[in-house]
């Protein structure tokens, strides 16, 4: 499965890109994060939340959507 992943704020600084497509054979967000942690050693789980199809989801959620986003703490206003 190809998954599009968006990065924002300091996460995009760590990954040095704002969006990428990853080929992934697991089932949960958590498994996807394992892949990302291997690729980007500076990522820490407590630094971000994950959205699937524009909704925040727990890490144990099954991946059903095509768009995942890693969101650092919000700073609106």
């Amino acid at each position: 499965m190809n998954i599009s992943i968006k990065y924002f704020g300091f996460i995009a600084e760590v990954t040095d890109c704002e969006e990428e497509t990853i080929s992934f054979s697991g089932t949960t967000i958590s498994e996807l994060l394992d892949v990302l942690h291997s690729k980007y050693e500076a990522l820490k789980n407590n630094d971000f939340q994950v959205a699937q199809n524009q909704s925040l989801v727990p890490f144990e959620t099954e991946i059903t959507g095509k768009e995942i986003a890693l969101l650092p703490p919000f700073a609106g206003g």
Binding site: F8, A51, F74, A75, G76, G77
Partner: protein, 147 residues
């Protein structure tokens, strides 16, 4: 008299005082309104470890942010007897002293606008994926976190 249609929330750069004045003027034909309440977020020149913030560069997960702004709008109209509501948030660079958030609610009665405005601003701060890079005068930066 009710004005519930979705609006574009994001504006490039700072929100000008002239724009705010014009928004107020537009409500003078709505003569069922007795009370307006306006919140403005302004970028502070905070001093952090001896360095002064000169601007914040805002980015957003826009698709999700627009959904969240719409959810907040619907929840507020559901919960409060509002005649109008307008929300504007900056994207890009907003300098210290400039305005980055403009929330405007109107109702026949004043009690309603106080409650509604605080509800909306707190929801925006908590739920909308907007990110702020605080840029210091020496061009270094750090990432802002809402408290």
């Amino acid at each position: 008299m009710t004005d519930k249609k979705p609006k574009s929330v994001f504006k490039e750069g700072a929100i000008s005082s002239g724009f705010i004045g014009e928004s107020i003027a537009k409500h003078q034909t709505k003569t069922s309104i007795g009370a307006h309440n306006i919140f403005l977020g302004q970028v502070r020149a905070d001093v952090i470890d001896g360095k002064t913030v000169s601007a914040i560069d805002y980015t957003a997960y826009e698709d999700m942010a627009n959904i969240k702004f719409n959810d907040i709008r619907e929840a507020a109209f559901e919960k409060f007897d509002l005649t109008c509501m307008h929300i504007y948030h900056s994207l890009g660079v907003v300098k210290a002293g400039e305005i980055c958030l403009f929330v405007f609610v109107s109702s026949p009665r004043r009690k309603v606008v106080f409650e509604a405005l605080e509800f909306i601003v707190e929801k925006i701060k908590a739920n909308v994926p907007v990110f702020g890079k605080e840029i210091f005068e020496d061009d270094s930066h750090q990432w802002k976190v809402n408290n």
